[in-house]
Symmetry: C2
Subunit: 438 residues, 2 copies
């Protein structure tokens, strides 16, 4: 298809000379973009396919969900990021499969894109351990739409509470449950506690948002299980100081329109947020694989698919045991490192060096914030916690944002909320803006 | 209802002492907020009702629609704006009518809010001259949702053109029609021409966005009919320099999924934007009035409803002939002036002075921008055009934005796009993000 289209515009065709090795990258997240960046200057033409038009800085997505940042501060149009790379064609399209015989990516609309080398970097969605029906009541946080939808749920629940006359129903509207005590759950809980207990304290007349109940439920014995026990304990205490209730050791057994059930407890809550598990995108199915327990594609140490040396899978979609016998964590630096590795491998191969190059993960640290004053960081060689850790976290995230403009904008937003406590993005938008009756 | 709710929280009840005169304001636009601000310190309690949770700076809405500004830069949560005013209660609610006997505002959910004085400031929507079926194909620009929806249509049409193989269908996807040559139509046309011909010129590979056709259709003999003939002619030439085609003197006779029909012409276009007419909100129906031709409530010179001295109607919802025999223009300063006037009238009445106080409109000027380099301004005593006028326009709009943070953010966004040409907000969001097949 791409050849056909190119034929109609000769100057474009020249730019993507079809005799060049064609690399198709599916997914413009941290991993996919790292492949594209790593191939700059290489004798290839590249097609970047994504079902959204923007790259998303997922580590700060929870701040859109809790009304700290605006959507455009953490998202960039993919084709704009790659506009100077004339050998890269960006397609907004939904992939439906991979044809191993024709060596082509199949698109949902019936078109297909042939490849010489394919990189699948399609990420993960949240998962409900076999209870997909919970998603309606307990949305997760992976896309911009997820974030604005969560923001709308939180703010609408407060609006409805303001107009609620029945004390029990009002209490349910003022109860926010976060399921899952990993970094996302901890960051959501801390941020919601600050939003309601501090930032919005003056905004309402009939409810007292300082009394909003924020409950974090973690099935395991401690929050932040990927951190050391002492950092985990520190985060636990810091969250409690912010007014978050933490419930450990009991898995959630039901989410419904009334609230959440765990163990023998039943909590009435209008807003339940899901941060308990992820499942890889359907790349395994495209390749005819079963995938591992989380749906990830089992790849060779060099990140290729077994039996298909010209197909790579990276990031949250790949399952590779390559770090002290443990799985590589599903974080941005890991996906980036894999993308860089794949780009190097492709360049080596084009130079005639086809020897397998096993990927080695370098621990780039583990970070989580608790509200806007505290964080825990584990770089391996050094551990930090508290206010200084928050500043390190903040500077690191601003550094990794793309473009000076967004760095300035995010720095301004944080500075503003840090000094004034006023959140700029408390907007209820999209069609569902009307309050439910009652 | 409000009394009932207050009973459950004694300290809130004290704040809205029910013996105080109760002013209910419906609509937190420029007019409604001006009433609330004007009543600061008066012996009243106030209920502010709006169906959205945010006040919107409508004069810059077209910049959200054309990917220059982010939504949170021009919108503020109403209850946050009024948080220091403890006598003001903000309700997110949909009004369904006014009960003149019970002297109460009726809400869609069955509740009612009694008033001593009522101010209706509910604005206007776009209108299709009896062809409401055109709205599907030619959306207008009044709300944040309208703006993000228009942005999505524009960007998706370019994405689809990039993947289109049929030359005719590709041409339709690269044709943008704006119906209506008033300030909104002129601003949309200029901004879309700059977006496609300049800002996105490097982003695509198979289409040349510099060749995008931007067509402005105005039924009257000239664009910007509310300006003087020479400013109108200047704007016409400036728009053409930006690459906008202008078609005058022929009304649009159909909008459908193929495009737009005017006179004997039929233009195939995927994106049609409507800026040709407005119709007032249903306030007239609530009051049992017929309303004028545009659905506005005919009010007395003091802005009260005939026969109901304690009900005021202001802004785009009101029809009052009070300015050199001409109707007052539907712009923000007019709504603000009316809001200030109503607040003064209410305060005078509470002091025992019930004499009618006719409203007099002071011409605060007429402004429109053509792209990001040029504008036309008519203050009455002085007329300006060109680059200097653009700077006056820009500074005036930044001045009238609410809050230092948004002034900084908008100034940063403009400075950025002015110097780099990179639009920060080119995001396709919301559920409809997938491209149509083909």
């Amino acid at each position: 298809m791409s050849e056909e289209l190119n034929r109609s515009r000769p100057e474009a065709r020249a730019l993507t000379d079809s005799t060049l090795h064609h690399v198709v990258i599916v997914g413009a997240g941290f991993g996919g973009l790292a492949v594209a960046h790593g191939l700059a200057g290489a004798p290839v033409r590249i097609t970047m396919i994504d079902q959204r038009n923007h790259h998303l800085f997922q580590p700060l997505l929870y701040q859109v969900g809790t009304a700290t940042l605006a959507t455009s501060e953490i998202a960039w149009p993919i084709r704009h990021l790659l506009r100077k790379r004339k050998e890269v064609t960006t397609l907004l399209a939904v992939v439906s499969g991979v044809d191993p015989v024709q060596q082509a990516v199949l698109l949902e609309d019936g078109a297909s894109v042939p490849f010489d080398t394919l990189v699948l970097a399609t990420g993960a969605r949240h998962a409900y351990f076999g209870h997909d029906e919970w998603e309606t009541y307990a949305p997760g946080l992976k896309t911009l739409e997820d974030a604005t939808s969560i923001r709308r749920r939180i703010l609408l629940s407060l609006e409805r509470a303001e107009r609620e006359t029945d004390p029990q129903r009002r209490a349910a509207r003022l109860t926010f449950v976060i399921v899952g005590g990993g970094p996302t759950g901890v960051e959501l809980a801390g941020s919601i506690a600050e939003l309601t207990h501090q930032n919005l304290a003056e905004d309402f007349r009939r409810i007292d948002t300082r009394k909003v109940r924020v409950l974090l439920i973690e099935a395991g014995p401690r929050i932040l299980p990927s951190f050391t026990a002492d950092l985990s304990a520190y985060a636990h205490a810091a969250l409690e100081r912010l007014g978050v209730e933490i419930q450990l050791g009991v898995p959630v057994s039901d989410c419904n329109d009334k609230g959440v059930v765990y163990g023998s407890h039943s909590i009435a809550a209008d807003v339940i947020l899901w941060a308990a598990g992820v499942r890889a995108s359907p790349a395994a199915a495209w390749l005819g694989q079963a995938g591992d327990g989380a749906g990830r594609v089992k790849v060779e140490p060099d990140l290729t698919v077994p039996g298909a040396a010209n197909i790579f899978v990276i990031g949250d979609t790949a399952s590779v045991n390559a770090w002290k016998g443990k799985p590589i964590p599903g974080i941005a630096p890991a996906a980036k490192q894999q993308g860089v590795h794949v780009a190097r491998t492709i360049k080596k191969r084009l130079q005639g060096d086809a020897a397998p190059r096993p990927f080695r993960y370098k621990n780039s640290g583990n970070l989580a914030t608790i509200g806007k004053r505290s964080a825990v960081i584990d770089f391996g060689w050094i551990k930090m916690r508290g206010r200084l850790a928050w500043w390190v976290w903040g500077l690191a995230h601003i550094y990794f944002l793309i473009g000076l403009r967004n760095r300035l904008a995010v720095a301004l937003s944080w500075l503003w909320i840090y000094t004034t406590g006023n959140r700029s993005a408390c907007l209820i938008t999209q069609v569902d803006h009307r309050p439910k009756s009652g």
